[in-house]
């Protein structure tokens, strides 16, 4: 059958199992959007307010489902607006296919209107990218893009399609099933046996896992291993949701803003079993100090991660699900009574420290607060601390997917939110993209069809709040919780600690009324100052089948604790600030 390039794109997307795409039309994809219009009963296109929002939505859709997220944008500015979204997906290993239009082949290289070399621009932030200059290669190129995106360690792939290729006609043979990911190499027996020996010999083993457990669907195997060797587990930011937060062996996130017990236990252990994690600088702090006391077994699907950030004593490349399952078989069952006693002590100490910080915060006067948060008249019990906000929202949210933006609110959510199953915590871990949350939450809500929660700050929300328009137009069930402290809190926290309280450009002094703003966009909203008010608002928000903004007043001097200073080590851990 002879069909146009644009139709080949749409037919190939459908063939690859794609039912929803996110995007924004423009001059060089007008033909592609014409085909999307004609096929609108077979594939759903979500129009966003900005291409960046579309890229984060495709990312959120992929994180929530494990499927490949697809985003479409026009040439030039449309394509460059995807860049932050693609880089975000790349750093967090999210499978994504980005399709961009470009000027006709005859105009390429002449600085034509809205021309940009997007293949050149995105080369370092994609697993691979293509420009299709021959229509006969179009369908197979798209199939290859899907294959690369989901094979091995997932990631984004970009396909640039000049306008004349979309218009040209070519024979198209649909395939009857999506491409199968490339086979994953299995970890070699001898290395797993060596790993089991190290585990059997260890007295204080600690499992450090990352996002690889989620993308490798290895949660069950991980828990089985931890339970058999009775080892505590901690994770990187990307590992959150792989294991239920209330699992008795789970100590929570470790690292810069990790749980006290988790970070200390990691430091006191004699063997780190790192699974699907990459030892980012936020997870390790000072690398020389980090590896001092323990041996490291590092298992990852990406061989390039082994010995990249940390020299492991044993690096094993292989499929994580298979490797952890075999490791659990090889390892001897242990009780590690002494080690577990020490863990219990650490948990206890963490509880005391957290409670102390909480009480201090309740007692604290808000008089110096630059944000007119109006909390001064409240009794101590009614004041909203960040953790209270997380607790109240989570009590209403059930098994909702939670998305975050980037900053203090992100860390509070990461520390506190009780997660139950994988793919329910969507956050920009590697790139730390402020403005990620709105798009990601919309993508997740559309993917799951259920209420999605977004925790954001007034800084992050300000970056992409235009996507409120998308949420309302798509009638997305979204609960947006703004932790509004009137400052760029994370940078302010650093300025307090390391820059003599020089609050350079972190005091927002904006007069934005988020309630009026939400109203103008057609969303419901309320501003809350106390716990009771938040309770009422949360009940209303989750009962409402649409987008609801809760603007929560937060003190500008709330800190994210504990904190390991950047480049510092566990010895420098800060658990309270005078």
């Amino acid at each position: 059958m002879l069909i146009s390039g644009a139709k080949i794109v749409v037919e190939t997307l459908i063939e690859q199992g794609c039912d929803t795409v996110f995007g924004y039309p423009g001059g060089q994809v007008i033909k592609l959007f014409d085909e999307l219009y004609l096929c609108r009963d077979r594939i759903n296109h979500i129009l966003t307010a900005h291409e960046q929002g579309a890229s984060h939505a495709a990312d959120g859709y992929a994180r929530a489902t494990g499927k490949v997220g697809v985003v479409i944008a026009t040439s030039g500015p449309g394509a460059t607006n995807l860049v932050t979204g693609i880089a975000t997906a790349y750093l967090d290993s999210v499978p994504m296919v980005a399709i961009t239009g470009n000027v006709p082949c005859s105009l390429i290289g002449r600085d034509s209107f809205q021309e940009v070399d997007i293949v050149g621009v995105t080369m370092p932030i994609t697993k691979h990218n293509f420009i299709v200059k021959n229509i006969s290669e179009l369908a197979d190129t798209l199939r290859m893009a899907f294959k690369i995106a989901k094979s091995g360690r997932p990631g984004p792939v970009l396909v640039d399609i000049p306008k004349d290729i979309q218009v040209a006609q070519c024979e198209f043979e649909p395939k009857n099933q999506p491409v199968i990911p490339a086979p994953i190499p299995f970890a070699p027996d001898d290395k797993l046996e060596k790993a089991a020996e190290l585990i059997n010999a260890a007295e204080r083993p600690y499992i450090y896992f990352g996002g690889g457990i989620i993308s490798g669907k290895a949660s069950g195997e991980l828990i089985a291993l931890a339970e058999k060797i009775n080892a505590p587990m901690g994770c990187s930011l990307m590992g959150l949701s792989a294991v239920p937060s209330d699992h008795p062996l789970f100590l929570g996130m470790q690292g810069m803003h990790g749980h006290f017990a988790s970070s200390i236990a990691e430091d006191e252990s004699d063997l780190i079993i790192a699974l699907g994690a990459r030892f980012s600088d936020r997870a390790t702090g000072n690398k020389n100090r980090f590896a001092q006391n323990f041996k490291i077994i590092h298992i990852d699907i990406d061989g390039a991660e082994l010995h990249k950030n940390i020299s492991a004593d044993l690096g094993i490349k292989g499929d994580i699900k298979d490797a952890v399952a075999r490791l659990a078989e090889l390892a001897e069952a242990k009780s590690h009574t002494e080690w577990q006693q020490r863990i219990a002590e650490l948990r206890n100490e963490e509880k005391l420290r957290t409670e102390k910080a909480l009480q201090a915060s309740y007692q604290k006067s808000c008089e110096n607060c630059s944000n007119s948060c109006g909390r001064n008249g409240l009794s101590a019990e009614q004041k909203l601390r960040p953790y209270d906000i997380i607790d109240i929202i989570s009590a209403h949210a059930g098994d909702s997917v939670v998305a975050t933006d980037v900053g203090q609110h992100q860390m509070w959510a990461a520390q506190r939110y009780p997660l139950k199953k994988p793919r329910t915590f969507l956050t920009s871990g590697g790139l730390g993209t402020m403005g990620f949350g709105m798009g990601a939450a919309i993508g997740a809500a559309i993917a799951t069809g259920k209420h999605t929660v977004l925790f954001t700050g007034d800084g992050s929300f300000g970056m992409n709040l235009n996507e409120l328009a998308t949420a309302v137009s798509q009638n997305v069930p979204l609960v947006i919780v703004i932790m509004n402290n009137g400052v760029l809190g994370m940078v302010r926290q650093w300025q307090t600690l390391f820059f003599d309280k020089h609050y350079s450009n972190t005091t927002l002094a904006r007069q934005t009324d988020f309630v009026k703003l939400a109203d103008a966009f057609g969303a419901k909203s309320s501003r809350v100052f106390s716990k009771d008010e938040l309770e009422t608002a949360a009940a209303e928000a989750f009962a409402y089948n649409g987008t609801y903004v809760i603007d929560c007043a937060v003190d500008c001097d709330e800190f994210v604790l504990p904190m390991l200073p950047p480049g510092g080590s566990i010895d420098d851990i800060i658990t309270d600030i005078k």
Binding site: V119, G120, M123, P124, K127, H128, I131, I148, D302, G303, A304, L306, H307, K308, S311
Partner: protein, 166 residues
């Protein structure tokens, strides 16, 4: 620091050199030289990269190269089992008082004079990097006007091959 030589077989497609060289830049790996050319199969090119570093850097470079979609084969070449060559073209001043010395150097190094004009001589030399360096040093006093060298290409001795298709 040792110098390593890596042979890389890549698909012969547009942009492949950018992908490989871009990876070195992006990851902060410094290289001595990089050459690219055709192979016995039309669909593939061969890149030879030389760099200085330790074993750990070498391993990281190999791993990162293997992740690139267009890279088909990566091999660290054992210097003792490898023929390594580089081509030099060098232009020196043609003066009556030094001409004979230059001719002698050319002869001893088995170089060739490939262009002769009243004011300049162009010599061609093939060999290992150390030989090329020695020749350049030797010609310096006579006035080097311009020079260019290709960077190294390398191929294993015996019947070991960096296969284009496995």
């Amino acid at each position: 620091m040792d110098q390593y030589v890596i042979g890389v077989i890549v698909s012969n497609v547009s942009g492949v050199l950018s992908r490989v060289s871009g990876m070195f830049t992006r990851r902060g790996f410094n290289i001595d030289c990089l050459t690219v050319g055709e192979t016995e199969s039309s669909g593939f090119s061969r890149i030879t990269v030389a760099f200085r570093g330790d074993d750990e850097i070498k391993e990281r470079i190999v791993q990162q190269l293997q992740k690139l979609h267009d890279v088909r084969e990566v091999e660290v070449l054992n210097r003792n089992e490898t023929v390594i060559r580089e081509l030099l073209l060098i232009k020196v001043r043609n003066k009556a008082e030094t001409r004979q010395d230059i001719m002698t150097a050319v002869e001893i190094f088995r170089s060739k004079i490939v262009d002769y004009s009243p004011n300049a001589l162009v010599c061609e030399l093939t060999g290992e990097t150390s030989k090329i360096n020695a020749f350049i040093e030797l010609l310096k006093p006579y006035g080097i006007m311009e020079m260019c060298r290709t960077g190294i290409v390398a191929i294993e001795r015996g019947d070991n091959c960096l296969k284009t298709v496995k």
